[in-house]
Amino acid sequence: MALDYRKCAEEIFSHLGGKENIISAAHCATRLRLVIADNSKIDTKALEEVEGVKGLFDSNGQLQLIIGTGTVNKVYDEFLAVTGLTAATKADVKAAAASRMPLWKKILKTPGDVFVPILPAIVASGLMMGLVEAIPKFWPAFGSSDWYSFLDLVANTAFALLPVLVAISAARVFGGNVFLGAVIGLMMVHPALINAWTVGNYAAGEIPTWHLFFFNVQQVGYQGHVIPVILAVLLMSTIEKWLHKKVPEMIDLFVTPLCTVLVTAFVTFTIIGPVFSILENWVLAGAKWLASTLYGSFVMGAIYPWTVVMGLHHMYNVIEAGMIAQTGLNTWMPIASAANFAQFGACLAVALKVHNQKTKAVALPSSLSASLGITEPAIFGINFRFMKPFLCGMAGGAVGALFGALFGLGAPVYGVTGIPAIPAVNNVPLYLVELLIAAGVAFALVWFIWKEDKPEEKKAAPAEEAPAEPMPSVIRCAAGEILQPCKGQVIAREQIPDETFAAGILGEGVGVIPEDGIVIAPFDGTVTSVFDTRHAVTLEKDGMEVLIHIGVNTVNMQGEGFTAFVEEGAEVKAGQKLLGFDREAIAKAGYNDTVVMLLTNSDDLEGVETGIAT
């Protein structure tokens, strides 16, 4: 029978204690996941009774209602319509659940949250770009080949248009429309604007300017920028969400996006952008001053990576060009190289130390790319995310930069750092020493100070690998507890897809939608019978008579696809394998494979209750 999704959603909503009590809603393949403000306001009992809700539990601050594949999304759509909530992704729900985090932590976390999804793009590009740009330094002829120009285009696409990737990802993080986010990102690198990478070539008066109200807006793009883009998209998402609430539904579709984009664009170019360009000029002036002194170099080596996080580092070409014009020697390069190489060292240490395979897979290529002077993947993907490696990198950068300044290192070229700069420096051995110091200090610090922070993995891993992990109790009575007999989702007896079981004719109990094909003993007890067809087994302990029955109507399979690991009369321990079943074979035969566990003499026992113990 088809479920009335609307009715189901309305009933769920009616038991949640009002709209104010729902912070956000999302769904996964089978569950409706809600973040609830005050759990005491919800009527759990009534929720369980709602037709279509197969079960519910509270986990990690989320109320999870089991609804089922193919159904949950429809109920979810109706639920949004009924409640007027906007769609949230699973990540949003997690974010809402984590919203009690202090503000400064949230702010530091944001660039990481934005960058993690786009890491594949920037890791690949960063590595390629580093290699492509390094080759001509050692083999100049390559630099003028068609291959070079083609590979360079491929490699730098993601960086040249980085704001677009950042904007899309940020829109997801902040809950805005990703396409509007993309528009904001694209606008910030629009070809009609002067490319931020080349703006240094223009004299101040040459840059075209818009006069909007009392704002004078320089028509410069945001290539290479990160923070202004994140801020712009944060603003956009805030405006968009606010408008969605205020604008009547009839005109919402065109009014909201239009106003959102327009207002965001205006504020971005008139306020966010200029504020950042002022900041940039200060940083530039400060950096120039710092780089001219010995101890300044030390400080600059430390704070350099912060300016990468801010997206200001591309401005340094101006400083370098100025130095070469004045003295013929670019002494900025050793500072930048030390800072970048230290991030390489820190990232490499993470790569070698970390156990999480995913992190390792990102850290290794990221560190390589950093050694070639492209540090964004290493910084955003690894070091800044874990923070400590970033700080260790700062230390390495500071020491390296000090060494460089002490020995008057420099180069007559600009725009390169790290390994690619080797052919150009005025003293190659000392430069190599500098790189070693910077990377070595950072590497050593990370190696000894940083510890892999893995609470999530710890929680997830045992569930995966340890069948020995105790199952929760699903039936309780005066005589004792009966544990879940099979991995999977526990559903209420009423939801078992078979009338006889569901009606409780054979006793109280629960169903389990199995995740694997193993039925285990639900307590230490005696196997009182194993059906000839191996699809069911009965057990006894302290007067509790339990039937575990795999699937519905599977008796018709005559044992095909079922294995018995025990015999009648066997004494078993909780968790011991009883029966094995082939889920595919059951599906092929056209039966449901819900594992049913019933306390068949529940009528004679006292205090029987079912469901996962809370």
Partner: protein, 86 residues
């Protein structure tokens, strides 16, 4: 005491569901003690577990005995149940 014999026609025998239904049916006929036997084995028909453990299959003949209460009527009803379900 009233008794009758019945040969199971259900291809899967008295497995979980029919056993459950049978127990339910017999419970509703309170007042009589009902036993079901196959060969030597004899069980209280109210005991689902015991009933299932007999593993009664198609073609096997069971003997049902009703003791006490309105034996005649109860036996008739149980027989009707067997014919309809088993």
């Amino acid at each position: 005491m009233k008794s009758f014999e019945y040969t199971i026609t259900d291809p899967v025998g008295i497995h979980a569901r029919p056993a459950g239904l049978l127990v339910k049916e017999i419970k509703s006929l309170a007042g009589s003690a009902v036993t079901i036997s196959k060969g030597e084995k004899k069980v209280n028909a109210l005991k689902l577990m015991a009933l299932m453990q007999m593993g009664i299959k198609q073609g096997e003949t069971v003997k049902i005995e009703v003791e006490g209460g309105d034996e005649e009527a109860v036996a008739k009803k149980i027989e009707a149940f067997f014919k309809a379900n088993l």
